[in-house]
Subunit: 401 residues, 2 copies
């Protein structure tokens, strides 16, 4: 079996942890598997490098920043190879140049084009554990790039895809993906399995175990992922294409408190007004999530939308500047609560059951949006945990089927 195992910075933060990861990988290797390990920079080392850069230049060029940051993972992989060698196992470290991990030139937030598998395969053929730098790539001019947040997960999945690996294990500090955040919902239960689409919705909604780009890539190439803990040997959560017959109606409840509602009241009710409003925001790079438009009356209408708390005030300023309306109102004390489930699309009454649970808990709903496998409501932020528990109970998510 060929396994790709990805460990984050915390897992390689000091010599003891490096050896723990090394032993874990060696166990797989000794069981007869081909093992590729993807690592991030050690602990908070990326922050140390950012501080060094800040001291020199408060606005460093992104190209040079990536040149600096990529040294972090290179140190991790070299030290890991030394650790495995110390334990008597042949290992070799490779960086983005040596693997040839081709990306776009968008320094700081590049996208992977293509990963060459030849070098990794050649080293595996020599029965070595291959340790690869996550997070980094090279563009077509041989400049270093980095992949942005969650980049190492993406590297791991891309390598798994190019090598047709049997499994891509993502090690984190939690046991897997839960029906809800266990810190907020006591009866939350670890899921054995979620589909790519469910994982994507959960990630977007702040469940945040895996980065979206890695899941999208896994879905595209059919890479089976496992999210599991680096602290114990519990089985994790498998992320893969769902078997429709067995699929749960609702997999989990997620909440995102980083949401603000902007209500624009008394816009002129004429064609193109919504386009104009959202185009003004898009030009300034403000991302919109939920949208609610009132029915027009007396030649006026209202449009409400949600964005991140950070963007809300800027959105207000932009619209005040560019549009005609009666009033604009920003509320940051709101939160999004969602249910996600691949079975939802073929199952009636799911939305009704969710709304009933909230009604029974006396929680008011400001806005509603849906996708094929998700229903999201906007509520007052103070009700977030109560809402999650009410919904979790209503769908009996604490009990496995």
């Amino acid at each position: 079996m060929l396994v790709v195992k990805k460990f984050g910075g915390t897992s390689v933060g000091n010599a003891e942890r490096i050896f723990n990861v090394a032993k874990r990988c060696i166990a797989d290797y000794n069981a007869g598997n081909d093992v590729v390990v993807v690592l991030s920079a050690m602990g908070k080392y990326t922050d140390v490098l950012i501080d060094m850069a800040q001291e020199i230049n408060p606005h460093p060029s992104k190209r040079e920043m990536d040149m600096l940051l990529t040294t972090g993972e290179q140190q991790s992989v070299a030290l890991m190879a030394m650790a495995m060698n110390a334990l008597g196992v042949p290992a070799v470290s490779l960086n983005a140049f040596q693997v040839q991990m081709h990306t776009t030139s968008a320094y700081g937030n590049a996208r992977l084009h293509k990963i060459d598998k030849d070098r990794i395969q050649a080293e595996l053929d020599q029965h070595k554990i291959v340790i690869v730098t996550g997070f980094q790539g090279i563009d077509k001019y041989d400049n270093y790039t980095t992949l942005g947040r969650g980049g190492s997960d993406t590297t791991a999945v891309a390598i798994a895809a190019s090598l047709h690996a049997d499994l891509c294990e993502i090690y984190t500090d939690v046991d897997g993906v839960y029906t809800a955040d266990p810190r907020k919902v006591e009866t939350a239960r670890k899921l054995d399995e979620v589909t790519y689409d469910e994982m994507l919705e959960l990630a977007t909604l702040g469940a945040g175990v895996l980065h979206n780009r890695s899941v999208e890539l896994a879905k595209k190439y059919g890479v089976t992922m496992v999210v599991r803990s680096s602290l114990n040997n519990h089985e994790g959560t498998i992320v893969k294409e769902g078997n429709k017959m067995e699929k749960m109606i609702v997999s989990g409840v997620a909440a995102d408190t980083d949401a603000a509602r902007v209500a624009v009241v008394g816009l002129k009710d004429e064609p193109g007004i919504a386009f104009k409003l959202f185009n003004n925001l898009a030009k300034k790079g403000i991302n919109i999530d939920m949208i609610l438009q009132s029915i027009g009356h007396n030649g006026k209408k209202d449009i409400s939308f949600t964005c991140t708390n950070e963007d809300a005030d800027e959105a207000k300023a932009i619209l005040t500047d560019a549009m005609d309306f009666e009033s604009i109102d920003v509320r940051k004390d709101v939160a999004k609560v969602s249910i996600v489930g691949a079975g939802m699309q073929s199952s009636a009454g799911v939305a009704a059951k969710m709304f009933e649970a909230l009604y029974d808990a006396n929680i008011n709903i400001h806005m509603i949006s849906t996708s094929e496998i998700r229903i999201t409501v906007l509520i007052n932020e103070k009700n977030t945990e109560r809402a999650m528990n009410a919904i979790h109970d209503a769908f009996d998510l604490g009990n496995a089927d």
Copy 2:
């Protein structure tokens, strides 16, 4: 003019020093020159990395060690580019992959094969200052290598050669090359110029301003080097092919206290005995410097030689094991003192004058060896400074011609 400027780790040890180097390079750039900068790792950062490796593996693979160490220069060059950008000058950093600095696979002590000039030239054509990692290279399998001691000097000269640079400036903590070590000879004078051959002899003899490999390379490709201080703007010492007409008879006096004399007494006086002795040492990697062989008598002869203090005891053990002789004696309290000068070969009486100076100072000579441009004597170590001063005075080296 195209100038290559090399700065060591101390010169880039902190943000302030990085800006000092940046300003110095920018002055050249603003004067209309093309500027390539070669940097070592910051301050003692290489030692920090070595300590990290030691904690993981006391005997790390050299391949992985080079993978780890090469991150040091990459950080230096990225930060330097940021500093120059902060000062409003376009700059770009490049590492061994980006330049394509090809070397042998002798990790930790690789030799440069070839440096591609295309990328550096392309960046210069865009009017950027180009900042390149010293000390590092890549082998034909795309593994990182390092060039060993003095490697960054070699990188600088190799880049100067490949770009046909007008000048290769090596910045150090001294003003240039002196007629003798100023800490030992008060009247020592900075030389305006030395030939490659003189510099090579001086380097070998522990004057140690430049590493031999860089000087050899400069000689081979006719690169004009300048050794100068990073702490002031004094003119340095030019190292180039000598103009025979103007050449000084003696350029300098150098001493090397890391020498031991091994005397092997009562060897059988038969053909091949010297070959057998030195072959035994060579097989174990022991380098021999001076050699003295007595005239045989009564079927016996003696052979004395010098090596480093570190190798002396091992040499004794090897010979005791492998050869027949009456006795063997190791003396570590000896030193080599040499005069070097490209004019020596066409000038009679130089050796006599050196020996006279030592005789007048009542200093006994144990052994003598010579090359075309060098005369070396082995004396008691305690006499080293007195000998240097006596010779320096005899040749009036403190006064410029």
